[in-house]
Amino acid sequence: MTNTFDTIVVGAGMAGGWAAKEFTEQGFKTLLLERGPNVKHLEDYPTTNMLPWEFKHRGQLTAKEIKENPIASSCYAFREDAKHFFVKDKEHPYIQKKPFDWIRGYQVGGKSIMWARQVQRWSPFDFEGPARDGFAVDWPIRYNDLADWYTYVEKFVGVSGNKDGLDSLPDGDFLKPWDSNVVEEYFSKQVKKYYKDRHVIYGRCAHLTESRPIFVEQGRGLCVSRQICQRGCPLGGYFNVNSTLIPWALKTGNLTLKSNSVVHSILYDEDQKKAIGVRVIDSESKTSQDYFAKVVFVSASTLNTNLILLNSKSDRFPEGLGNDNGLLGKFIAFHNYRATINAQFEGFPNYTTDGAKPTSHYVPRFRNIYRQETDFLRGYAAGFGAQPQRKTVRKGFGAELTNQLLNSKETGVWNVNSHMMGETIPKSTNLVSLDPEKKDEWGIPLLNIDVDYDDNDEKMIQDFYEQFTEMYEKAGFVNISTNDNGRKPGNDIHEMGGVRMGKDPQTSLLNKWNQMHGCKNVFVTDGACMTSTSTQNPSLTFMALSARAANYAIQQMKKGLI
């Protein structure tokens, strides 16, 4: 195998997958490196067609698995059916300076196999946020810079949604939505009635509800709402990298996909004053190999991208590639998922649902949108779910118990719930760094993670409780209870930052094209590039940024500028 390519992409998740697709489609010989094993669509979803009663532990983890994986098992999807797609705690340790659950998926496809598939666009307010509110640095782009790329990605991915016409959550190129249920519709109307700037809408999700030629070309079928997406879908009903971007790029004949390849560092040439390739360690044999290219895209997932760049030391960049200002690894942020609220509603006793759908409703951020109105910065979005309550009595034993089970029935009451998705403020004190002594089994320094909540987050939680309690009460919901689930940072699986974009090389690492200020042929397009976090699930934005950056890099390469 040759070790010289036009482009090298590090990480075969969503961001890397998009870069690989763009490069290979336009004729660039591309090496896509993935530290984990290959996962081939259809072939490598071992549990995808298993029925609930076929699982030895009916979905539960064993006590040994929980004991050995306190981090991974804190994730809702690390269960018997999908545990094989998650990194086990012992496999790649890191150092928690403060509690941080780093949830990882090391394989081709990355976490796109097990993701929650919610894809809301950012709005103009989100990109303008840091400048208006005086935190982090100003984004070097605005919504209009990314709008067409959102559309570009949505057309390929397939996004089910409603045109809601909200300036706080722009519409996209949507496939038809699944039906809403009576309580979702009711709550939406009640909120509209009592609040002019609050909305309860259908949660836009990356599922195929209509066929289009592009999906047929990808070999994907419609979603049949199996609700077990985390196992991989044999129909390709939801978007993951394995069923779309990888086969698409392979079909061009321009992609070399190399799994089990841990990137140690990016190679910098002092004479040429640019990156010339990457050093890779085979994850199994531990042997080292260098690969070379004109352009390197780093999309190894937020914290691993930070790790690789910090470990890419040279005479020119002794503190890590592009790290002239000492900010590499700093300003890590995430989403605050700690607050939840539950209640019941007795208003539709004569209605139920039939079938299933892969999404629920969504409450876009309404706090501090148009002006600062609270004693905390920014705000939160929230989910909203409503399900008919089923009651199964399990008292006693013997025939009495059997009869109760055989008379399980819906009560006519609906359970309703919301969970907060809060924006956290990037700070220099929330950071990652290389441990000076400890190394992993591939000889790479372990990552120190030093990230925590702050007072702004605590105030936001209280506001969520107050506002949603009020909204629930106005809607007539009863038995309302709020809860702090104690989730640690990282457990949201939305960690971002450390290699932020910005206008000024003194205060940021990347320019408006995700290009390193200090090393123009290196681009960072995963969550590490994020200047701020907003409240929306970030994957759609990562994909749009990655596709945009790749096309910019292609233009620059064609002009011979990089």
Binding site: L222, R226, F397, T402, L405
Partner: protein, 173 residues
């Protein structure tokens, strides 16, 4: 009995449970559980009997891939931590002692009424050793029953690939 033996054989094939022949006993196969290496066949049978009292098995109407006692013991073996497994073992011993001291007999040989009375005496006392033991059996018996194919499909309306969602279906109050 034939069905039971067949089921035991199938368990070994399906779940990878280890079938062993005890050193000096009959030719009845025994399943070994890694965290309960000393659990004898007669104790496994006892657990099967108790589970059947707590939540009667009905293989004809609610068939499952594994027997009730094998599922329950698999879950107890694999999914309880060490502390809870000790609770289970202590409760099992206490239950056996109770039967032997009070009834001077094996649980299996008691009348149905006697079996029911013993379970009734302890199952609601969830803090007693025997109560804890019985409630572990109840907990996993319930999971076994409630995840059986017939129950999920015909009593919980489970569908593997529904392919539709209707959010406002009228029902009779």
């Amino acid at each position: 009995m034939i069905r039971r033996r067949k089921a035991l054989k199938n368990i070994g094939l399906i779940t990878g449970g280890i079938l062993t022949l005890p050193y000096n006993c009959s030719f009845e196969p025994q399943i070994s559980y890694s965290n309960f290496p000393l659990l004898k066949k007669k104790e496994q049978d006892l657990i099967a009997d108790i589970c059947d009292i707590i939540l009667p098995t009905d293989f004809n109407n609610f068939p499952t891939l594994e027997t009730r006692e094998h599922f329950v013991l698999t879950m107890i073996n694999d999914c309880l931590d060490n502390e809870k497994r000790i609770e289970f073992s202590v409760g099992l011993n206490s239950f056996q002692n109770e039967i032997f001291e009070v009834k001077k007999n094996n649980f299996h040989d008691l009348s149905l009424d006697e079996k029911n009375n013993i379970v009734a005496k302890f199952i609601d006392n969830e803090k007693s050793e025997i109560g804890i033991f019985l409630n572990y059996l109840k907990h996993y018996s319930l999971i076994h029953f409630e995840t059986s194919e017939n129950y999920m499909i015909n009593y919980l309306n489970y569908e593997f690939m529904p392919g539709r969602y209707h959010g406002g279906v009228k029902v009779k109050v």
